[in-house]
Each structure stands twice: as C-alpha cells, then as structure tokens.
C-alpha cells in the first residue's frame, strides 16, 4: 500500500511517498531499472508557521516569471511582504477575502519580491497578477 507521510527532521518538513512492501501478497515488481528515479522522493517544504503546510500542486499552469495570480475574485486584506524582500517557497505573501472567508496566498518559489501590484482594500478579479517573485 502507498502512504503519504509528512516527516519533520530537525525542523524541516518533508512530504514523503512510501510503499509498504510487507503486505503478504507479492506484487512481483520488476527489478529496478538503471536510471529510473527512486520511489521515495523527499520534497522539502518551508517550515510551517501557524497555518498548516499548504498543499500546492506541482502542475499549476505556467504563470510567467514568478507571477502570483489571484485564485478567485475578492478583496485584498493584507500584503505580507514588501518589494525587495526575500521569500521562501511556501511563505505566506498575501491574504484575500471572498465570501466571508480568508484565502491565503503562498509564494510558489524562493526568491525576492520583484513587484507588488495591489494594496489592501483593492478588489481583484480571478487571474489578476497580485505580485511577482523573481
């Protein structure tokens, strides 16, 4: 059986996929292929603050050059970073509000904030660029 685990080592959080082999039935896996990637691939995420570690899809369609687009129409509540500030992947950069709920925006990669295009109070459409990480 395959398990998804979240493992914390020395404060760093890893998302790990594990296959349990001692399950009784033998699946007859083929011998390892030279050059194939190993099954367990640790992915390091930014250490969580108060909020749980965000589940981000690795397959978000390309939004050119580190642009962070609004995932929904709403009002900007906070911008948590300044232009020039260094940010880590997974770090919270903004909060939007829609339908009386906060939606948190996280940095998709590590870098520096190159531009901030909105400010608290602005109303934005879905897909509008909020800020960019270089």
């Amino acid at each position: 059986m395959i398990k998804q685990l979240r493992v914390t080592v020395d404060g760093r959080v890893y998302a790990v996929t594990v296959e349990m082999l001692d399950e009784g039935s033998d699946y007859g896996l083929p011998p390892p292929i030279a050059g194939a990637r190993p099954l367990v691939a640790p992915v390091s995420l930014a250490p969580p603050a108060a909020a749980p570690v965000p589940v981000r899809s690795a397959s978000t369609p390309a939004a050119g050059a580190g642009e962070i687009r609004s995932p929904l129409a709403g009002r900007v509540v906070t911008i948590d970073v300044k232009p020039g500030q260094a940010v880590n992947e997974g770090q919270q950069v903004a909060t939007l509000e829609a339908m009386k709920m906060n939606t948190y925006i996280y940095a998709p990669k590590t870098g520096h904030v190159s531009t901030v295009l909105v400010q608290p109070g602005d109303v934005v459409e879905e897909g509008v660029v909020l800020l960019a990480i270089a």
Partner: protein, 517 residues
C-alpha cells in the same frame, strides 16, 4: 506416446519470438527512457505467476501496403487476466515496440474479447495505453476496431470498474477509450493525450501551443480535469492502480471490500476538537479532518489538482470503505462552481453504481458568484450535484462542519437530497444565506429608518447569526439527526456506516434519468 519433441520445440520457438516483441534494440531504447516494457507493466500490476495471457499467437492478416512482410508479435497488444490482491483482474497492455503499438483489426479484437470476458466474469478492466494510434494500413478496420472498443467501454460502464493508464502517446480517437472509463492515471513526462496536437491546431487555426499546454499529464490533471491521478513513472502508475482497486468491488453486484473491524471504537478524537479556527474567516484544512476520520490517515484523493475547492476520494472508516466528498474552504472559500460540480457529480455517480457509501463533509458558503460562472452555465453544472446525490441509493452520510448556506447546502447532500443521516458540529451554520445578506432583506425598512443604519445592520446581523446561523434551528425541527462534537465524528461515522450498509432503496423503474450535462 509422448508428444513429439518437434511440436514442443516449435511452440517454444513461437513463444520466444512473441516475447521478444519489437526486438532488443527497441527494448533497450525504452529502458534508456526509464520506461517499462508492455510485459513488465503487467508484471508490476499482477501478483507473481498469476498472469494468464490470451492471444499470444494472434497475427494481423493485412496484405496491403507491404504489411504482409511485417509480422507483429501479438499484433502489438498483450491481453489476459491476472490477480491483484487475491482477486482476478483483466488487463491489456499496448506494446509500443511492435509497430508503434498501433491498433489494427486483430489488436482491437484481442481487446474486445478481453472486455467481453471481463463483462461475463464480472472483473475489473485495466487498460495500459501506449500507442501511436490507428494502424493506417488497415484503414477502416482500424477505425471500426476503435468503435468496437468504445462500445464495450460503455457496455462495461457501471458493470465493472474500468481504469485506464496513459503510459505513452494516446492521440486522436484513441483518447476516447480512456475518456469513457472510470479513472485515468497518467504518467508525467513521456505520456501525452490529446485530440488535436499542436501541429494540427497550428495548421487548422493558426494558434501556437505546446504539448505541455494541451496534452500533458499536468494540464489534464489541473486544467481539463480529464485525468484523475498523475504518476511519476510506470511503476507508480501501477501502484496507484492497485491502491485504487483495493477500495473497489470487482463488479456492480457485490459490495466493495469492506473489512469492518470487530469492535467499533467510539472513543473521542480530541484533536478534531482543535481543528476549527475561532475566527470564522479563517479556513481550516479539510484534508486534516479527512485524515483523522479515515483509517491510518490513508486517503486516496481523486483529481487532487482539479477543482481544488472540492475534495473527493476513497478511504476506510474502521474498515468500511467510503467515498468522501468535502468542501475545501482554503480554495475559493470552499464555494461550489462549474468544475467542482462536475468533479463531485461524477464521483458520486461512480460510488453509486459500485455500492460505495458516500460521506459528505460540508463547509460551503454558496455557489461562486461571477460573470464567468453565470455565463459558463453554473446553473446546469451545479444541478449535476443535486441530481447525482438525489439519484444515488447508496448509504449517504452528511456531516455539516461549518457553513451550509442556501442552494449549495442542498447540493452537498442535505437531508432532502436523500441523506440517510445528517450530523452537524456545534460550529455549523445552516441557513438560507449568511447573516449579513439575510438582514439586508428581512430588515430593509428598519435599517434604512435607523439613526445609524450601518450599526443597526451589524446589530441585527449579530442577532440573526446567534439565532439562525447554528445547527439548533434545523435540529429543533428534526431536519438533522444530531449535533455532535467534532471529536465524536469518527466513531459516529463508523457506527452509522455499518448500520446503513444493509440499506435497500427502490425507485420507480425507468431507462435512466436525464442528468443535465
């Protein structure tokens, strides 16, 4: 008289040629790309030594365009039955090293014969797709071959689970067979699936695009919503297949493989009491809730990257298999929209045909407002959720976690949509709409007549929230079964699932309902 050695040798020789498939060179090429061969994929799927192959000696009989001098071992596809977790499963695996895995008449016949058997035997069908498409030399026979496969995909639909793996190219008409099956698992990198590729699009419309944009696993998982699981490579794709099968019955007349624990553990899970934030505007992670409800936190999420405002997937609650449908307040405030309605409805209908109980976790503020939603048809898409739930006769258990407003509350399997038991947490707000919106309408005159309208509105909203945005109005009218502490949820669900497993609900016979599509 012992059987003639010459006959046995001849058989051995024929087998060796068939197993060699497209030859050493082509097989080495695949290894270089980290791809398994067609046969290795089946070995990775099935328990050791359980695979019975049919059609090893099948040959095409095409005499046109030089085909007579091109033998194709097995006509480019391996078909047969093996065992997964002790249960028989039918599978076909297209062999790209043999004529590009292209589909001709005999290739299609082998698959169709396998599908007919799967239907009669009542066993799941797994299709490993890796093919250049139709064998052009066979012309109409190839096209008809696809037609026959599609027809059987539809015949089998709802009789046995059908899972497709896209492990290589799957282009044009060939993409419709997986599209007709229940679940699609696609590998990253090598696999591609499209009707018209970038070259055809460019030639026909002038638009420039890339395979990554229109045919990749990433695009189909996150944007088009066609693919249900993305695998890193062939091996993981087959692991996902086995994992998925472990929740499913072999066919529609048996139950899923429930393994109910001998004792139902009703002890409270105090961690669940900590999960809902104080601030009603702060979303909580619904994945964390589900992880605490399912055994060993083992939840197989389906379509994780698509319509992330709704989470669907399989898990067990103290051994009993259930399909979960849950709003995800971290995305789009957990509101229902076009994509999430499609995702939810299809999952609900799959659970219904295969006798899988459905657990619905509700925290929904409504349907997502917007011009794109309205013009995009949120009316007819949202209706799919209502239709799917109302038409389902499997056990349906609903737990209202926080907000449950308006039509979206109905669409999340309310009592009236046929939920067998509806529970609510003390944090539940079951209402026609949120307090602010409601008081604007109900107390319009009073607010505009007040000295400080804004303050009066706030006051009235607070009163309304206190009185109506709670589970006790609905509980008072016996519209929900009970208000429970979050910590009780796992035990309560485990018990309720067991009780409702014997559910039997009859509906007036008809060919089928007309679900809005």
């Amino acid at each position: 008289m012992p059987i003639s050695k010459a006959l046995l040798n001849a058989l051995e020789q024929k087998r060796r040629i068939a197993y060699a498939a497209g030859g050493e060179e082509k097989i080495t090429e695949r290894r270089r790309k980290s791809l398994l061969t067609a046969r290795e994929r089946l070995t990775a799927l099935f328990q050791e030594n359980t695979f019975m192959e049919w059609g090893l000696h099948a040959q095409h009989d095409c005499h046109r365009f030089g085909m007579e001098s091109r033998p194709m071992p097995g006509d480019g596809v391996i078909t047969g039955v093996g065992y997964v977790d002790g249960r028989p499963v039918a599978a076909f695996s297209q062999d790209f090293t043999v004529g590009g895995g292209a589909l001709g008449r005999i290739h299609a016949k082998k698959i169709c014969d396998l599908m007919d058997y799967a239907q009669k035997a009542g066993i799941p069908l797994i299709g490993i797709n890796d093919s250049g498409g139709a064998r052009i030399q066979e012309g109409d026979d190839s096209l008809s071959g696809y037609g026959q496969v599609f027809f059987r995909n539809v015949e089998l639909s709802g009789l046995v689970p059908q899972i497709s793996i896209i492990a290589g190219p799957c282009a044009g008409g060939a993409a419709y067979s997986p599209a007709l099956t229940d679940f699609i698992i696609m590998t990253q990198g090598h696999a591609s699936m499209f009707i018209c590729g970038p070259e055809v699009i460019k030639a026909a419309t002038g638009q420039s695009t890339t395979m990554e944009e229109v045919g990749s696993a990433a695009t189909h998982a996150a944007v088009s919503g066609t693919v249900h699981f993305v695998a890193e490579d062939d091996t993981q794709a087959l692991q996902i297949t086995r994992k998925l099968l472990s929740f499913l019955p072999s066919n529609n007349v048996v139950d899923p493989p429930h393994r109910p624990t001998p004792v139902v553990d009703m002890s409270p899970d105090l961690a669940l009491n900590q999960i809902v934030p104080e601030d009603p505007k702060t979303p909580f992670a619904v994945h964390d809730v589900i992880a605490r409800l399912v055994d060993e936190g083992d939840f197989l999420e389906v379509q994780r990257d698509f319509a992330r405002n709704l989470v669907v997937g399989f898990g067990r609650v103290q051994g009993v298999v259930a399909g979960f449908v849950a709003n995800n307040p971290a995305h789009k405030a957990g509101a229902l929209d076009i994509d999430s309605s499609d995702k939810g409805a299809r999952f609900i209908r799959f659970c219904n045909v295969f006798n899988i109980p459905i657990v619905t976790l509700v925290d929904v503020p409504g349907f997502l407002p917007g011009i794109a939603q309205e013009r995009g048809g949120i009316i007819r898409h949202g209706a799919k959720m209502l239709f799917a739930y109302a038409a389902s006769t499997v056990p349906k258990l609903t737990v209202i976690l926080r907000k449950a407003y308006g039509g979206a509350y109905l669409a999340m399997c309310s009592r009236d949509m046929g939920a067998d038991i509806v529970y609510a947490w003390p944090t539940a707000e079951i209402a026609v709409m949120g307090a602010e919106g409601a008081v604007k309408i109900l107390f319009k005159r009073e607010i505009s007549a007040a000295g400080d309208p804004a303050a009066r509105e706030q006051e009235l909203a607070a009163e309304y929230r206190e009185k109506f945005a709670s589970p006790y109005e609905a509980a008072g009218k016996a519209m929900i079964a009970d208000v429970i502490e979050p910590a009780q949820t796992r035990g309560v669900l485990a018990m309720a699932l067991r009780n409702t497993l014997s559910k039997r609900e009859t509906r007036p016979p008809k060919k089928h309902g007309n679900i809005p599509l």
